[in-house]
Amino acid sequence: MRDVLLVAIGAVPGAWLRFRLVNHLEPLVPRKHWATFAVNITACFALGLISALEHACGPRPPLGLLLGVGFLGSFSTFSTFSVEVLQAWLAGARRQSLALLLGSVVVGLLAVMLGLWLGA
């Protein structure tokens, strides 16, 4: 029961922050999907950092559930990423679509690795 609450308590602000950030960044970036990109990359870096710290300091299950599974899992999103890549492609913005696809994977992976390296 405590674990259920930890995940839920992390998840709700994670989703709120993503929702608000994407809406706030939208006027600043050329297309909405770059706001999702920024959210996902930030979450990748933070999850890498948390994962490395857990590895170094010993696992802290409650903190991992709250921040890793709840907050960051909820903050980052795969579904919005895949739907936005598809929508950009269908709208004829094929280079944007490919740039978003490849950029998200490459930069996301680098961000996780940077987090893992900094936390180690």
């Binding site: 909820s74 980052s76 999103t77 795969f78 579904s79 895949s82 890549v85 598809l86 690795m113």
Partner: protein, 135 residues
């Protein structure tokens, strides 16, 4: 007399409530999929893939011409699907495979997620267009 006379504030609270109502079960489902299914299917990387594909299908569906769109997108789309699916855990799973000197498995996880993710989103969108086709 209303408790919240400011219409804009009430509107924003309603938005946040809808997102929260979707987000909590989304994250719980992802977490329980990892806890219950991971031993059977070969690890959290696979359960994360499964929830990511499921969420892509549902969000693709919501991107179509559905009725009551705003509320459903807030609750099921931004809340539930956004929370159910995870980009960061996917990337962490890939990084761990690379660390474990399994570049082939890492590449497969990336490729399968991308191709199947786009397919699921497309299938969701198509089925939504087919169901709610405007006459």
């Amino acid at each position: 007399m209303t408790l919240l006379p400011d219409r804009r504030l009430r509107f924003e609270l309603r938005e946040l409530l809808l997102v929260a109502v979707g987000a909590a079960p989304g994250a719980l489902l992802r977490w329980q999929a990892a806890v219950q299914l991971a031993p059977a299917v070969g690890g959290e990387a696979i359960t994360n893939l499964i929830v990511n594909l499921l969420g892509s299908f549902v969000l693709g569906f919501l991107a179509g011409p559905i009725p009551r769109r705003t509320a459903l997108v807030l609750c099921l789309g931004i809340g539930f699907c956004g929370s159910l699916t995870t980009f960061s855990s996917w990337m962490l799973d890939v990084a761990r495979l690379l660390e474990a000197a399994q570049p082939g498995a890492a590449l497969t996880l990336v490729a399968v997620s991308l191709v199947a993710g786009l397919l699921c989103a497309g299938l969701g969108l198509l089925s939504s267009r087919w169901l709610f086709r405007r006459r």
